[in-house]
Assembly symmetry: C2
DNA sequence: GCCTCATTTCGTAGATTCTCGAATTATCGT
DNA sequence: ACGATAATTCGAGAATCTACGAAATGAGGC
């Protein structure tokens, strides 16, 4: 995870429709949904949505898998993991105590990026 | 945390300079850094940096505190917590088992958005 | 091979964002 | 009050992003 990759991921999420797409697929789980079904649920034209799906996929936030005639898109939760870890890397200069009181959802873990 | 707030936060991070600013302040910890010092370390002109700091602050990602003649900016880690929680809300339709294998940094916690 | 459904690519007009010097405002020391 | 330092606002050109219909591509079914 480098600066550019992270920036692209944030840019992909910095749009109302794309954010809705991603959250919908997070709720949907690993099974995913086909492109037209996503467009239908969000009330967006297929061509518009296709470019948004391409953005999210290019940013590494979605996995796409062909299933018969349709393409199933699913949220890539590991990517969220990666960008959060990148964002909080070496938090508070590495002092865990100073970081402790932030809320509980995020565990900065170790700063060594040795595990892919 | 609503859709627009989250989108603004992602938009604020979707820029190389602002992302560098935020990560620098994460590393710096609660003490924060004055604006010109941030500009100096990142090699950016003060006026450019000021607008970026304003973006990040408007998005709720930075806290600013006046300290004598300077203004100390510090990363708001709780905001990161909030946007990640928003992003993963009702993950996998609420089935924790399906979400379990994502990597370990993020704990989806409860989906009830009752706590501000 | 042909028809149909699912999805993407193309084109272009419109809207938004970005940069940074100059001018401005705010704070402190004397 | 004055001078110096810290930070922000203003302005305008340049660059990037966005939307969506029409046309093209891809994958089956018959």
């Amino acid at each position: 995870m480098d600066q550019i990759t992270a920036k692209d991921a944030f840019a992909a999420l910095a749009h109302e429709t794309r954010l809705s797409v991603f959250r919908l697929l997070v709720r949907q789980g690993p099974g995913g949904l086909p492109a037209l079904e996503i467009a239908r649920r969000l009330g967006a034209p297929p061509s518009t949505l296709s470019s948004h799906l391409a953005s999210l996929k290019r940013a590494g936030l979605l996995n796409a898998e062909r299933r018969h005639r349709q393409i199933l898109y699913a949220a890539n939760l590991a990517a969220v993991n990666d960008i959060v870890r990148f964002l909080l890397e070496d938090c508070c200069g590495g002092d865990p105590a100073a970081c402790a009181g932030i809320g509980g959802v995020i565990l900065p873990a170790r700063a060594t990026p040795s595990d892919a």
